[in-house]
Amino acid sequence: MTSESLQPATGLDASKHDAVAVEGSNEIVLFPQGLPGFESCRSFVLFSAEAGPLQWLSSVEGAAASFLTIDPKLVMPTFRYTLSRTDLARLGSTDGSGLLWLAIVLIEPDGTLTANLRAPIVINPTSMVGQQVLPHDCLYPLRHVIVPASAG
């Protein structure tokens, strides 16, 4: 994926940021069910950070939902998540290839950086559809520590 500047969606000043170019003419990613807790947020934009592992996922409508995200495989190389046929159908994907995986980052009050590996966000760059997948059985950590409070 390449970075390119995009015209901002309503309410966002994208001029200072590089947007992660997800293929397609439209940089808005559609989340048909929103996110758990943010069901009103059906459209998001994904921005890349300046040459770093973090992205910024931000809703462009509904409640203000702004998240830092990171590739789950960066924080857990063995991370493997099987998408159900239903998940794949919802993403408009036939075989799950070429999907973008993001784990939401949570910074705890003491500064510990954690990643939600239990419910990753999956985006299909071809269809520009995304969803947060919920586990059916095997549970990864909800708050996987990336950087402890004392470090960094």
Partner: protein, 81 residues
């Protein structure tokens, strides 16, 4: 809340074509089968509630600030390639 009593094998229909059927009643609980269109997410309530809460806790308005993201990325350099 609508309340039904269902025996094994019986079902309820919700909306246009969502079906919840009692498959087995056992000591460990009740096994339910759900038929729903692919567009309708179906999850255990406690998982949905947990992820909902985690998302709300993770909302970070500062994420829009590139200096903030750079600072977080710098912290990550110590841990993540």
């Amino acid at each position: 809340m609508l309340v039904f009593t269902r025996r094994r094998g019986e079902a309820i229909i919700i909306g246009d074509g969502i079906e919840v059927r009692v498959l087995r009643v056992g000591r460990d609980g009740i096994r339910l089968g759900v038929v729903a269109p692919a567009s309708v997410p179906v999850h255990r309530q406690e998982i949905h509630a947990q992820i909902s809460q985690a998302n709300r806790a993770a909302v970070d308005p500062a994420a829009s600030d590139p200096a903030y993201r750079a600072a977080m990325a710098a912290r990550l350099k110590t841990r993540v390639p």
